[in-house]
Symmetry: C2
Subunit: 240 residues, 2 copies
DNA sequence: AATTATTTGTCCGTATGTATG
DNA sequence: CCATACATACGGACAAATAAT
């Protein structure tokens, strides 16, 4: 169960992200918010502080609490990420997220190709073998695919990149439960499904990493994600 | 002036990041912290809440506040970033940051090559022209260089990438004031200085963007940052 | 398996400080 | 200089979770 102030952060945060409040708008003053939402001023104050740390607003004495431009938002906060993803008006944000993946994942895999220990290599091999064996089984495939990407990621030994990609994945999972992303996935499947083609794409990455070929590993991972990006681009232009 | 609770967050946060408290450690209980630091329990509670949102600790009723593993930290928070950068024990973190740049900046420039408007292109041209004209003037060069990278970044029209790179730059600037990063910069200058070689590297990027050649733009930006990465790697291995 | 003790969580009202139109 | 609105800090009361008995 969420606290009252967390609920308020959620409520107001969504209104900002969805554009109900826009840059430069002044939120109702503490006392009014307290009245409107039937909570104490302490709760309101905590909520405003929460919104501040998200970079969504800035409280100024006398002039009130003002909504900040998008450039100030803490985009890597999981709540901000999911609110944006869940908002239909920000549909091309999914494309933007994919562009971040396109930057970071090939880099991570290239690092893994040079840094993976013998133990890492065993885990990578294990995950890929399970992918090979689950061509007919979407559920087993999904698990193996997930493991494969994750062991590769860990083997990059770059905490920052690992954390960033994991945050991104988490946001996608959370918002996919609620939004039309699920529909997109069903219709056009930009995500991996157990086809021979997908397997071969992964095999190329797998072999490059095992051969410590960072350039090839980068390239093949890049191709994999670029395919997702192209599908998303097609969907968005088609739906205009 | 920072509030008492912010000071506490800073103090405790640093102790966690530098390893004075490690994963699994239990912080003193609220009442004790209140006594130790001579503040009210409210202030302590706010500080613990702050540390929680940074992902550094998790408070549990009855069993106290426990320090979380590095994988849980909010790495993109500016405070966490600078604490880590300022800690000598994390010296290879600068390398990790550069690897993130290596992933994201070429991607951003490639996007700029396809998305830059006419107005963006004018600004890009202006910044590059100023770089050309300031070959003998380190200060003017620094400004033009900064502008050049920033207009390119904005022209990517990907808020997430823009924000991430800017956060990264900000952290570097803050921590460079305080640490040995300044010394590294002086000795080996992994950053741009006004040489003909640096200018030509930038010209390659400039022309690729102007020609809307996203592949070349990506490659040339990649080479620029890779050069920084190689220098850092050399420094770290030399100093072992 | 039920109870107790401990620790944090939540919310409250109040008091005083501080920036600013 | 005043009125306004937020900022900071305090302490108290009760709720909730859970380790220990």
């Amino acid at each position: 169960m969420k606290s009252r102030s967390e609920q308020l952060v959620d409520e107001l945060g969504r209104k900002i992200v969805t554009g109900e409040f826009v840059q430069g708008d002044i939120l109702p003053k503490v006392e009014d918010l307290s009245e409107i939402h039937q909570v104490s001023r302490t709760v309101v104050r905590e909520a405003l502080k929460g919104l501040s740390t998200l970079g969504l607003v800035k409280s100024n004495q006398r002039s009130g609490t003002v909504v900040l431009p998008r450039s100030e938002w803490r985009w890597w906060n999981i709540d901000v990420l999911t609110w944006v993803l869940e908002d239909e008006k920000n549909r091309d944000f999914l494309l933007h997220l994919t562009e971040v993946r396109l930057g970071l994942e090939p880099t991570a895999v290239a690092l893994a190709a040079t840094r993976a220990t013998d133990e890492d290599r065993m885990k990578i091999k294990d995950a890929f073998t399970r992918m090979e064996q689950s061509l007919g089984d979407p559920k087993a495939w999904a698990v193996a695919d997930y493991d494969f990407h994750n062991v590769l990621l860990s083997a990059s030994y770059n905490d920052l990149i690992i954390n960033t990609i994991k945050t991104l994945q988490k946001a996608l999972i959370i918002s996919r439960e609620k939004t039309l992303l699920a529909a997109i996935e069903d219709k056009d499947s930009p995500y991996d499904s157990p086809t021979t083609e997908a397997l071969e794409r992964h095999r190329a990455i797998y072999e490059a990493v095992m051969n410590r070929d960072e350039v090839l590993a980068h390239q093949k991972t890049s191709e994999l994600i670029l395919r997702v990006k192209r599908i998303l681009e097609k969907i968005y232009t088609r739906d205009l």
